[in-house]
């Protein structure tokens, strides 16, 4: 539904100037949650989003279309280090929630303890409040367990494998209303079932009188002394990337940065914020798949994209196991081999199921501005993490075998293409060189971490940037550790928690 409060790309010379209480930069998990909280609190809010606003009928179907229409930098951001691993993030209204699997896991209690111990923030009180917030978000976003009829064979097989191994595992809770099991979450749910923030929270911001600027990458935060008073930038055309008119938003009460782990640190740096902690403590849950080959067709594109998980190894050695369905146009580019051999391997596509492991890696990397508006992420897993990672691959293979796979395809350089049930131990003896694996990074943390000590953190436990006033960060970049669970719920919980503090601060200031 078009809205007068939404302004998309403007041509050169068509400049936009607006005054609001709060400007929120980025419309993904963090930005949308902060914006709707501020709007519900009665503030006027403007969201500035770098990418365009696409509704489900605009969503692509192919992987090519997804990279073109939804991904940040065409999905071509990758780690610089020993291995080049892709870092996947979206650039459109709704941010990465449009292309994620909407898996909903509340922040584990041990994380708040760890934050308290290592960073002087968090603790029981924060835990209680965040869990309450997460419960409310689950209700707003219709969180529900994957319905039986949408499970699809790959998720059912994984459950059978998990049960057979005797490990704790479950069908997942996701922010999805009446999932049709179209297995298309990663290209955006064309059925509109997945509650990405472009469909759920952001429309409410508009209904409450807020504004959205789309195709509007913020280039600078504007300061008056130490106080953040607004943002500025130029519209960017979503197809040809031409620069359009300028925009300038004045924010009477605050500027909230939620441009993601790879973008927020660089935006702060480009705007003159100086901190030794800026861009540091980048962490991730690198993930990689193992294909299982089954006697009967699995047809993994039928059923929820990611419907099963096990957290049995979250603490030791630090892993999460999940299912994942990938479309033919991704699997064709992803299976090892080329030429006639690859074509032969693709013949069994319908018999393949993919289970993945996400490693709770401790290794810290760093985010820095790159050339021509890109981002550099330096990151190489250390040996301890590579041991975890390799064990994750083995555990995933175990689930396949227990589920009845006749063989697994590990996709690990140096190992045979296919391993039979008696050979999967070879994975545990496999390489520890990250270059032997094709992993991706989709759960990202850090870069503007929160903490009590300004020398070691960018913002405090309420998202306020140290040494500045009116400037907040409210996305995955504030998270100072890994989580060992999917991050959306934690990011949204923190963003709402911070926004509530902003509103409280306002109330106290008014009373004073």
């Amino acid at each position: 539904m078009p809205s007068r409060n939404h302004i998309a790309f403007q041509e050169r010379g068509e400049n936009v100037e607006l005054d609001v209480d709060y400007v929120v930069v980025g419309s993904g998990a963090g930005g949308a949650a902060a914006a709707v909280t501020l709007a519900r609190g009665g503030s006027s809010v403007l969201i500035a989003e770098a990418g365009p606003w696409r509704d489900p009928e605009d969503y692509p179907s192919s992987v090519y279309g997804t990279m073109r229409d939804m991904m940040d930098s065409w999905g071509a951001t990758f780690t610089r280090g020993r291995a080049f691993w892709p870092i996947v993030q979206a650039r459109l209204v709704g941010g990465t929630t449009v292309i994620n699997s909407a898996i909903c896991v509340r922040t584990p209690g041990d994380i708040f303890e760890q934050w308290k111990l290592e960073h002087g923030i968090g603790g029981d009180e924060m835990a209680r409040e965040i869990w309450e917030i997460q419960e409310a978000i689950e209700s707003d976003l219709h969180a529900s367990v994957v319905p039986e009829e949408s499970r699809g064979r790959h998720n059912i097989l994984a459950k059978k494998g998990g049960d057979g191994l005797g490990i704790d595992s479950h069908y997942m809770t996701r922010y999805v209303r009446d999932c049709e099991g179209r297995g298309q979450c990663l290209q955006g749910c064309r059925a509109g079932r997945k509650q990405s923030t472009n469909l759920n929270l952001i429309p409410e911001v508009l209904e409450r009188g807020g504004h959205v600027l789309s195709c509007a990458p913020v280039e600078k935060i504007v300061f008056e002394g130490a106080r953040a008073v607004g943002v500025s930038g130029r519209f960017s055309h979503p197809q040809n990337h031409a620069r359009g008119g300028s925009f300038r938003v004045r924010a009477r009460r605050g500027v909230v940065i939620a441009a993601s782990v790879t973008r927020s640190p660089n935006l702060l740096a480009a705007s003159g914020v100086e901190s030794k902690a800026l861009g540091e403590k980048f962490r991730a849950h690198p993930g990689a798949p193992i294909f299982g080959s089954y006697e009967d067709p699995v047809d993994m594109s039928r059923g929820a994209t990611q419907g099963w998980a096990s957290m049995a190894y979250r603490t030791e050695p630090g892993l999460k196991l999940e299912t994942l369905s990938l479309p033919l146009d991704m699997v064709a580019g992803r299976l090892p081999g080329a030429g006639a051999l690859l074509m032969e391997r693709l013949e069994e596509f319908r018999h393949l199921a993919i289970f993945v492991q996400a490693t709770r890696a401790e290794t810290a990397g760093r985010v820095r501005p790159g050339a021509l508006g890109r981002t550099n992420v330096r990151y190489t897993l250390d040996t301890k993490d590579m041991h975890r990672f390799r064990e994750g691959m083995y555990r995933v293979a175990q689930v396949h075998i227990e589920a009845g796979a006749r063989s697994v395809l590990p996709c690990i350089t140096g190992l045979p293409y296919r391993l039979g049930p008696d050979e999967i131990h070879l994975i545990n003896e496999g390489p520890l060189d990250p270059r032997a694996y094709v992993a991706i990074l989709s759960h990202l943390f850090g870069g503007c971490v929160m903490g009590a000590d300004p020398a070691r953190s960018v913002c405090d436990g309420n998202g306020r940037v140290h040494g500045r006033t009116g400037l907040y960060v409210a996305d995955g970049s504030v998270i100072p550790t890994n989580l060992g669970v999917n991050p959306q719920s934690t990011i949204m919980g923190l963003a709402v928690f911070f926004a509530q503090r902003m509103l409280d601060d306002e109330t106290s200031a008014n009373a004073a």
Partner: protein, 130 residues
């Protein structure tokens, strides 16, 4: 440059077996489109990957010919060896060609039907303008 990308992509996914291969027309149209639509780094990576594919038969087969002059049997062997080469740089450079070959092949209605996958509707590329 498009013909070189097309050549490398088709070599990655040839016909002749049970499944249909990537056709020169499909690959050419794709190369044109991706170079027109993608961001500069992606496009550059794809071009470099195609060049790497063309010049490496000397490494994979010890034959001093560009890949586009190889007979079909040797071209197939080159494709297989270059994507699994032990030099990470060579492997990564051609990875993007292979990835795009897969994306192009797997999105074609004809190839999808061979594996009982429904045809994709067109990617509309539209967005809210108001």
């Amino acid at each position: 440059m498009n013909w070189l990308i097309r050549h490398a992509m088709c070599a990655m996914m040839p016909g002749g077996g049970t499944l249909p291969g990537l056709t020169a027309e499909e690959a050419h149209a794709y190369a044109q489109r991706v170079r027109a639509e993608s961001d500069w780094l992606y496009s550059l990576g794809l071009c470099l990957g195609a060049v790497m594919f063309a010049i490496t038969p000397i490494i994979t087969l010890l034959i001093p010919l560009p890949s586009f002059l190889l007979p079909a049997r040797l071209l197939d062997r080159h494709a297989e060896r270059v994507v699994g080469h032990r030099s990470y740089l060579i492997k990564q450079a051609v990875f993007l060609v292979r990835l795009n070959a897969g994306m192009c092949w797997g999105a074609s209605a004809h190839n999808r039907s061979a594996l009982a996958q429904p045809a994709y509707p067109d990617d509309p590329g539209t967005y809210r303008t108001d």
